[in-house]
Each structure stands twice: as C-alpha cells, then as structure tokens.
Amino acid sequence: MSDTPNYVGQAILRREDDYLLRGQGRFIDDLPTPGDTLHLGFVLSPHAHARILGVDGSQALALDGVTAVLVGDDLAKLVQAPFAEIEFPGYHVHGRDVIARQIVRFVGETVAVVVARSPYLAQDAIELVEVEYDPLPACADLESATSPDAPQVHDDIPNNTIFKGDFTTPDFEAAFEGAEHVIRERFRSGRVGGVPLEPRGCLALPEHGDGLVFYSSTQVPHLLRTALARFMEHPESRIRVIVPEVGGGFGTKAQIYPEEFIAAALALKYRRPVKWIQDRREELLTDIHARDHIYDVEIAFNGEGIVQALRADITTNAGAYSSLPFGCTLETTGGARMIVGPYRITNYTYNARAVATHTAPSGAYRGVAQPSCFMAIEGLMDRIARQLSLDPAAVRLANMVPTAELPWTNVVGVRYDTGSFMESLQRAMEMIDYEGFRKRQPADRLVDGKYRGIGIASFTEVSGTGAPGWRARGLVRMPGFDSGIVTVEPTGKITAYVSHAHAGQGHYTTFAQVVADALGADFEDVTIVEGDTATTPYGTNTFASRSAVTGGGALIRAATKVREKMRRIAAHVLETASEDIVIEAGRAHVAGVPEHGLSFLEIAETAYSMNNHTLPDGDGYGLEETDFYDPPLVTMANATHIVEVAVDADDGRVRIENYAVVHDCGRLINPMIVDGQIHGGAAQGIGEALMEEFVYDGEGQLQNASLLDYLLPTSEDVPMFKVEHIESPSIDTVGGFKGVGEGGLIGAVPAVLNAVGDALAGLDININVKPLRPTLLGNLIREARRDRL
C-alpha cells in the first residue's frame, strides 16, 4: 500500500450504478437462454414429516412439453447426498439427499423434479405429480424438540441434538458464587431469513462434451464448484461456475442448495441447457432460515455494576438438516463465542446445543448469531443498570475494555487488535444527545401519549475469518484465504481478478480503489473481475463480512508484487536503482525527478517484449502476479448503535424516531459504501426486531410463505440513519481493513429491543423476545396498565 493513498478512504461513486440504473444488470433470469433449454420445477412436500410411499409422474409426463419426472432414487445415481464436512466434538455429521428418498423432514423439501419446456409448463407438471405420503408426527418447536417423547428428525441423532458443546474458565464457579448480585433471564429470538429481493436460480450449460458452464445466483462460486465436483464425482476442471449480477445475498446465497446439484446433474445427463428460477414461495419455504434461539443467561456483578461472571445456556434450531457448507453450528458456537463482546468478562461458562426440528434448515444469514447473543448481553447490561439505578451507558463504559488495553485477548481466545469500544459509545451518545434525552425523559416515559425510550447496543463484529477461525469451529474444509491476480496488460491498463462475488456490495469500485493505491495506478485504469471460476483464483468467497479483509488483503499483496516488478523494470530501463523509483498516478519515475520516468504503458511494453528494452536479470515476461491472503483467527470490528423509539400505548406500534451509529471497521475503503452497508443492515435489524418472523404451527406448516405475511420493513418503518466512523486500522491484517457487512444488523436488534424495554420500563414490562409486533406489545401494555389500576 502506498503511504499516501489517493483512492482508499474516498467516497467514490460506484461504477456498477450506470448499468444497473439503466436496467442492464444481468441477473440470473436475465441471461440469454438457449432455445432448447429445459426448465425445472420442484414438487415440494406439504408435510413436515412423512414417509414417501410412492411418486407417480405419469400424468405429468403425459403433458405435452414435459420430458421427465425424476425422484430421489433417480438423482441419487447422479449426486451423492451432500453433507457439511464438520469435524467437531459433539457434532453428528449427516447428509441430505438432493431429493428426499424415503422420508421428508420439512415442508418444502423436494420430493420430485419435473423437467419441462417452459417454466409455465413446469408449474403445470408439478401439480400433476401424485405423491402418496404416510404422515408422521412432526416436531417443529424448539422448546420441546429435546424432550424424550419428541418425534425424532434423524434416527441416528438422539434427542434431536445434532451438536453439543461446552466451555468453562477455571475460576468461574468461585467468581459467580462470590458476586453480590445475579440476574437471570431467558431471551427468545424469533426465526427470520435473508429474503433477498432476487430469489435464487441457476442455468447449467453443457459445453465441449462433459464440460459444464454453471451460472448461479450464489455468493460462493469456488465453494460451489468444488461441491458440485465432489458430490457429482465430476472433474472439477470440467466445471466453470459463473456468478451473474446477484440481487442481494445476505448469507442466504452463501449456502449450496440441492437445486444447484440437480440442475448441474441433469444438464450433464441430458446434455442440454437446464434452467431453474426460484419463486418467492419456494424462497421463503426452502432457503435457509436463521435465529430461532433460546438464550438462558445468568450474569453476576458487583455493586458498581462490574460483571464478575457470565453463564450462557444456548439452544439453536438447526432445522431438518445441516446445510452446506457451514453445517448447523455457526449460530450455536458463534453466539457462545461472541457474547462477551467489548466487555472485560473473564469468568465465563457456556453450554450450547443445536437441535434438529422438522423445519427448514438453518444457515448463515447476515449477523450470524450476533443479533441474538448481543440481544442477551446488551439486554443484561440494561438490567444491571436498572437493578442498581445506574445509567445503562455508564454500566457499559465501566465494563468495556479500554482502548489503551488493546490488543486484548478475550475469554475464548479471540484477539481484539485495535478498536474503539468506549469512544464509539461516547460519540454515539453525543450524536443523539443521550444526556439531553435522559434529562427530558419522565419516570413514566410517557410523552405526548407515547412511551418514549432510548436503547444502546455496543458490540464487536466478527469479520474476515481466516482458516484458524474456521478450524476453531470445526469447518475443516473451509479454506479461510482469498486470492487475487493483478495484471498490468500490454497497454498499461490493469485487470485485477479476485476470488469474490458481489451481490450489491460495489466490489468493482472498492477493489479498484484498493488496487489503484497498491499499484500506484490511476483508478480509471483498473478493472475488477470476479465471480467466475475460470478466470479468478480460488478462494473462500463472499460472506461473513470478509471481502474487504481477505480480498483487499490478497489484492494488495499481488499488486505489491507487480509494483515491485514494475519498479525493477523501470530502474533497469532508466538505469538507476529500483529503490530510487517512485510509482504514483500511473507512472514510474526517479524520486525527485518526475520528468525522468516511464508510463505504465512503457513499462508494460517492456514486460511484454514489445519494444527494444530488455528485462532486468531474473525477471521473466509479463506483469502478472498472484497472491493469497489468509487473515488471522478473526478480524474484530466494533460499533455502537443508539436508538430512540416511541411506543403507542394503544396499538402497540413502535416508531423509530432517531438513530445514530458510530462504527469502526478499521481503515475505510469507501465511506459511502460502508454507510450503505450499515443503513441496509440496520433496516434488516429493525425488521428482525419489530416484524419479521417465520411462524410454524405445531404440525410444522409454515404459516407465512408469502410477502403478504412475512413482513419486510418499508421506507416508512425505518428512520434516516445517522452514521459516523472511527478508524482504528487493524494491526493484524494487510491493509488495516476490518469487515462491515453485518454490523448494521447486529447492532439494530439489541438497540431497538433495549429502546423499547426502556420505553416500557415505567410499566415494568420485560422485553426479552423478538420480534416485538404490535399485538405482543399492545397486549403487554394493556395487561401492565390493568395490573396498575
């Protein structure tokens, strides 16, 4: 990285915008589809748990334009049951047939695939496939799933407990017993999903015999390619995965789904293009869900509100299967490992379990575990304050790790290299005039007929996880690194290939900023290529707030190598020492003598042997370098959100009146884009806190598989977000970047809950669940008022 960045840190407008604004973004369903394409339709189980007695596709096959109806046994010949490769004590590894064979385990599981000439015909055919089921008792409810008489989801997983883990510090019991005060609470986190505006889809095009070009609306092209190769036993080198424009991912599209295997396998089987575009109902029924957690927590503290010990008992709903590639413990171990947040909590114990139920598989959705674990710890901070009549901000400040004590290694061994825990809280308090709000706030919280409260969430945000971080959580085949290739072309323009894939994050802009600075190039000369396994180097891809850290780091390393080579070539041509060469603004010149230099074009022509210069001894042709970057365990960002809410006493509706964020993701690449990430995450968090929830009934039927019934926040439900930044560059990562993708969501959930809890504190209403829908709050308020009469 050059010492004086020209582009990193600048709010450069996005390159992506022009084509997207013109309606020229090419998403999966916008790609040209060959005339002989076969369209897939999936027959979904209407039962949460049933034995499949028979599938009769004859009526569907009789329909003109329907070429095949295939069942689980047919696909099993083409694809092994994929399984998440987790090696973790207490984890039951299990596979999932891409089409169910004997038993269905959630509503929406595929029982057959139809192959037809058009998507309309595929829908017609789906209706004509007759499936005979023997319904079995289902277990959809997390609270009862581990009881001895609960229906079993998998015969070989006793008590539906897919995973169990624990941890304790040596002095925990003594610290806990010795504390003056203990608060116990159960926090219940409702089930939500990413619900990107674009559902999933794929287009599989056979080429050159057994080759396959596979377009997918995915966040993980390289992981997908490896999984396709591995579970179809097809040479990886014969598969090329291309990610078109993706209409939002949020982790949902970082999973590898059965439909992708089916489409790939059938394209190879029929030697014809195969396409599938998911519809919204399928998206809501079958994409991974998240949250659905129970946190039973106890916190021990002294009279000053200083935490002495924390005990957490965490239960997460895994759904019916471990999803690929993360398995079902990301939220289980994640919450257990992240709950201590920015606080100096040294005595800690947890028990954590992931429980199978007859519901959609769980997986990685923006925020992974952190909205729940910070709902718990931040809720506890407020409860300590209320019990001791202290201000909630003061309790937090008293428990935070001060910046002067960083680097700090937390109780589970995660290093916080730099950060601004106290400073971000203090600055957010200033932004929102926290003290003024507290002074104005009456004891009963009623202002103009509404309960008004303020809520804080201070938190750490796991990002940029490296290989050690994945190993620590049992994901043995999750690489951790990402990679970049930086090429200066013969004309002096730059192409940088990176192992990521965007879904709206603006990588074409931000990575170009990074490369331009690392190379000393003009931003306009840098083009980013990603999302294509044939052209980009291998990597772990795009999820869990990693691109800036891992992609940025890899590109800097590759660009630095190219820069060094350019420096050597320039020195050789200019007959000086390479230490004397400065590269900036697309030119290499002798230090102090700007006119004595070479353009990138002239250096490139030398490198590509297009002029009469020779190369320095030891350097070969070309100007292209590859490098990899595997960050440390994790890269820890931090932030504080503070929210003011008004709760309507009669209809129980929550209005967000003011919202301030101070975020620290280390070195900022593009503040405009970082702000956008925070806005979007915070809106999703407001949705999660106030309205979003997948509701299953006792039989495991999803009650709200439409956007009429699964409510997403709209422009009227969210405020103008005010965002500021503190930059504490990471000292552990190349480039100093930390991730930012998830923080907005992570902070919003506890901040909104705490604000509502504060608003209703005058009524002694305990806020320990989400979402806080009007019916819940309205009833709580009415009961509390009735009790007071």
Binding site: P119, Y120, Q123, D124, E127, D279, R280, R281, D650, D651, G652, R653, R655, M691, V695, Q703, N704, S706, L708, D709, L711, P713, T714, E716, D717, R773, P774, T775, G778, N779, R782
Partner: protein
C-alpha cells in the same frame, strides 16, 4: 408461481361480457384491474377456465351522480376515484378510505368494484360501502338486481355474486349537509395490510347526530356495521360521554378473529381505540 392455463376474451361491451359470463358459468371470471385476482391466480389458488376482461368496455368507466347517489361503474380505477373532485365532494369518506387501498401502483389499476367483488375481509372499500349505504348493482345476461352492501359481504372472499353475475356498478350515498367522516386503519407495518380499520360517518343537525354509520374491518369474518354504537350516537350529542358509551358498546360486540397478524383480543382493543379516535377526528372535522 405461474398461473394455470385459461382462455381469454375481451368483449367490447357489457352485453358481450354478460354473454361470456353466462356461457362459462362458474368457470368464468371477470378481469378488471386484476390486483386482487391475479395474485391468487399466480399462486393457483384461483383458476378460471375463461377470463373475461372488461377493460374494453368503456361504457363501464363512469363516475356520476344519480339523485342521492354517486355511482361508480365497474371500470373505475381506484386512483381515478381518489383523484376525482366528485368523490372528494360527494363522498369524502370514500376519498379517505382509498389511500389505504394497496399502493399507488395497485390503485392505478385496481377498480372499486373489483375490490368489492373480491370480498377480502379486510378490504377498506367494503367498510366504505357499508357506511355509505352502498347499493351493489349486479348484472347478468338474464337481468339485473341490486343488493345492499350489508347483504353483499357474506364471508371471507364470499359475496352475494352468483356464477354468471358481475358487479356492474356500486352506488354510494352522497354525503350531503353537515356530515362528519373519518377512516382510520392500523397494520403491523406503517403501511401495509390492515389488522383493523374503522369507518365512521356522522350526520349532524344542530349539534346532534341525526344518523350514524360505523363499520369495522377485523371485527368479524367480513366488514360489518356496528349498530349498537350507531344507535347510541343517533339522536345524541357526540360528546365525550356519548363517545365512551359508543366505544363500550362496540367493544362488547366485536368478534375479532385471531390470526397470524394479531390475536382477537388485541384486535378488539385496537378497534375500540380506532373507533374512539375516528369519532373524535370526525367531530373535529379534520
């Protein structure tokens, strides 16, 4: 999520539409704006054999006064009614209810009669039709009949329309004299589908309420009049005491269903709150 196959026709006049309806019986459905029907067709919850578009029947696209009524033909789109001076002046209650119907893009296409004929239990226009003493003008090949709005909504998604019939127009009572109106709605989002709504219309003469119309959404299986509350306000001053009595009376007869979006008890509480607010807002003349 694609509709099942169907045949399509778009007759140029009402007679042709009614002929097509008669010919297809239960298998025929009218397509006006499609904002209620097409989502259900995409989900294959509704699958007509023959879809009969009335969009070429310009004779159904009228909004006019007939005596004491404002009559709205089957092709009048909600947005057009919302923007119409006639509606603002003659039926302000309807003008208050319309902005709550779907979004702008839905109202641009959806028709007043289409929403009523669909019979969604939480459709704002059904409450408006009740308080405006709506007269539903039903046409069929073999004749016409009228049904009072109150007898039209039978159950969720079930109306008095028989196979072969269509709702050709709705006549709303003009709001003359010193009338006070309010329409209030509450949903789980700032804007979205109603959990509960209240429409009120008070005819005032010399400080007393000569007649009252109150309808609620979410107080039963369809939109319904709340007569017990109307009776308390009728021939009375609409003061705090009367409002309180009306609200109490309403509270006692609301049979609010529980569903995913709200439990019945909460709905009942919200409805009484909305009623109180609506009565006060109507009297304040806002």
């Amino acid at each position: 999520m694609k509709p099942a196959p169907f045949s399509f026709c778009a007759p140029g006049d009402l007679a042709g539409v009614l002929e097509a309806l008669a010919a297809n019986g239960e298998d025929g459905r009218i397509l006006a704006g499609g904002q209620s029907l097409v989502p259900l067709m995409n989900l294959r919850l509704v699958r007509p054999e023959m879809l009969i578009s009335i969009n070429r029947c310009s004779e159904l696209d009228y909004l006019r006064l007939e005596g004491d009524s404002l009559v709205c033909g089957a092709l009048v789109r909600q947005a057009r009614a919302e923007e119409s001076d006639l509606v603002q002046e003659e039926c302000p209650l309807l003008a208050m209810a319309l902005p709550y119907v779907g979004g702008q893009a839905n109202r641009n296409r959806g028709t007043i009669c289409g929403s009523l004929a669909h019979g969604d239990p939480l459709a704002e226009l059904s409450a408006a039709a009740l308080v405006l003493d709506g007269e539903m003008r039903i046409a069929a090949r073999d004749g016409q009949r009228t049904v009072a709005a109150e007898d039209f909504f039978l159950d969720g998604l079930t109306t008095a329309l028989q196979p072969g019939e269509m709702l050709a127009a709705v006549a709303f009572q003009r709001q003359g004299g010193d009338e006070r109106s309010a329409f209030l709605e509450m949903g789980n989002r700032e804007h979205g589908f109603a959990v509960a709504a209240v429409a009120t219309r008070l005819g005032m003469v010399g400080g007393r309420c000569e007649f009252a119309r109150i309808a609620m959404l979410g107080a039963g299986p369809t939109a319904r009049r709340i007569r017990a509350a109307e009776e308390i306000l009728t021939d009375s001053e609409v003061d705090d005491a009367a409002i309180e009595r009306a609200v109490t009376a309403a509270h006692d007869i609301i049979e609010a269903p529980s569903d995913l979006h709200a439990d019945g008890e909460f709905r009942r509480h919200v409805l009484t709150t909305l009623l109180e607010r609506a009565l006060r807002q109507a009297m304040a003349g806002e």
